[in-house]
Amino acid sequence: MVTTLDSDLRQRAWDAAASVVDPEIPVLTIADLGVLRDVAFDGDRVEVAITPTYSGCPAMSMIALEIELALERAGFRAPKVRTVLSPAWTTDWMSEDGRRKLRDYGIAPPRASNSRRALFGAQSVACPQCGSEDTELLSEFGSTSCKALWRCKSCREPFDYFKCH
């Protein structure tokens, strides 16, 4: 049975974990990203489940450490972080708020993932600076695992695109 006290405690732990930001994209929290999956208690020890974005994303170990620190600051003793692989993370889990924050930050948010299988599918990504759809792909791979490099042909600015995954 979940008492009010338990759910208050869980909410407090969730809020603390959810305040951790992605070290590469500091405007997004791990809750915005959909990386934060679960917060549970094993006795009085809190255990947070996160899911990796990309298999080799070096930010994940940093995020796990930041979560532990955030929980300790919030008064939780010896918190644990575990990684869950299933279901596999997808950019479809990114919150609307997260997408807006990304755009404001100058990164084009991911499109729906149902088109990612097309081997040479034509893509169009709106420029986060001027909103123009007249853009072109410069490189499928960008400065981090999660981004590709694009250029706007209207305002001529290069920009990052958060790849759909």
């Binding site: 990796p52 298999s55 997808t90 490189s139 791979f141 695992s145 790849k163």
Partner: protein, 258 residues
């Protein structure tokens, strides 16, 4: 080399998982050798990104192999403390980078296979392998698109790039057959619904490869003699050199951490 090799109890599941882990680690390491050397900055980032994905996949698989073995080994020991003859990767992935065309053709042959393989593995009865596959197939789809575009650009590019791409295909073709080979140890896992029978993927792999190669105005070799051995620890002379670099820190300073 001052540190003894570990022993691994290769039950069918451990061996199966190790083979996939070794493929990902060795190819990831090969790609990492391009870091700082690629023909342009975008490709430097692309190859390093793909390397990261592969090494991430390797870590998950090694972790699971160690768990399935149930002994003292862990992902680091499996990667750093096995010698050449204990490695189980495909001969294809250990082939040297050569020029840019050789690297991309090697990547293309492997990614076209891995993409089908991981997608099929998502239905494995082994839930951990299915979860690793669900993660990996998203990455391999992206890798396949990258290398496919390069094969077309190189093949349908200049006389020089065409010749190099064709040369790479001719040279690496004999290493593609091993991807579809199955031994008795794996057959049992296939029958149990845990492992994937790669023979069922061959037609689709050939279709993808042939369509990209044709679009690139290149040709597939008619010679179908295939080289094998990596799955059983019989490697080319190249793997030992790769491992001596990959393992040097742990062999020199055992147990060293960041």
């Amino acid at each position: 080399m001052t540190v003894a090799n570990i022993q691994v109890s290769e039950t069918p599941l451990v061996l199966y998982t190790l083979r996939r882990a070794d493929d990902a680690l060795i190819l990831g390491h090969r790609l990492s050798e391009w870091c700082g050397h690629a023909p342009m900055l975008e490709e430097d980032m692309a190859l390093s990104n793909i390397a990261l994905d592969l090494i991430g996949q390797a870590r998950e698989l090694y972790g699971y192999a160690a768990k399935a073995e149930g002994g003292d080994n862990d992902e680091d020991k499996l990667a750093y403390l096995r010698d050449v003859r204990q490695y189980r990767n495909l001969l294809l992935v250990e082939q040297p980078n050569g020029d840019f065309a050789q690297t991309l053709v090697r990547q293309f042959f492997y990614s076209a296979f891995a993409d089908l393989y991981w997608r099929a593995m998502m239905n494995s009865r082994d839930t951990t392998l299915a979860a690793i596959a669900a993660k990996s197939e998203k990455e391999s789809a992206y890798h396949l698109r990258h290398s496919s575009e390069w094969i077309i650009r190189l093949g349908d590019g200049t006389e020089e790039s065409h010749a190099r791409a064709q040369g790479a295909i001719d040279q690496l073709w004999a290493f593609t057959g091993e991807m579809f080979a199955v031994d008795d140890s794996e057959r049992g896992l296939i029958d149990a619904g845990i492992a994937i029978d790669p023979a069922t993927l061959r037609d689709r792999w050939m279709k993808t490869v042939a369509s990209v190669v044709t679009e690139a105005t290149l040709a597939l070799p008619q010679n179908n003699w295939m080289q094998q051995g990596g799955r059983f620890g019989r490697h080319s002379e190249h793997l030992g050199h790769l491992l001596s670099e990959l393992q040097s820190m742990q062999r020199t300073f055992p147990g060293q951490t960041w």
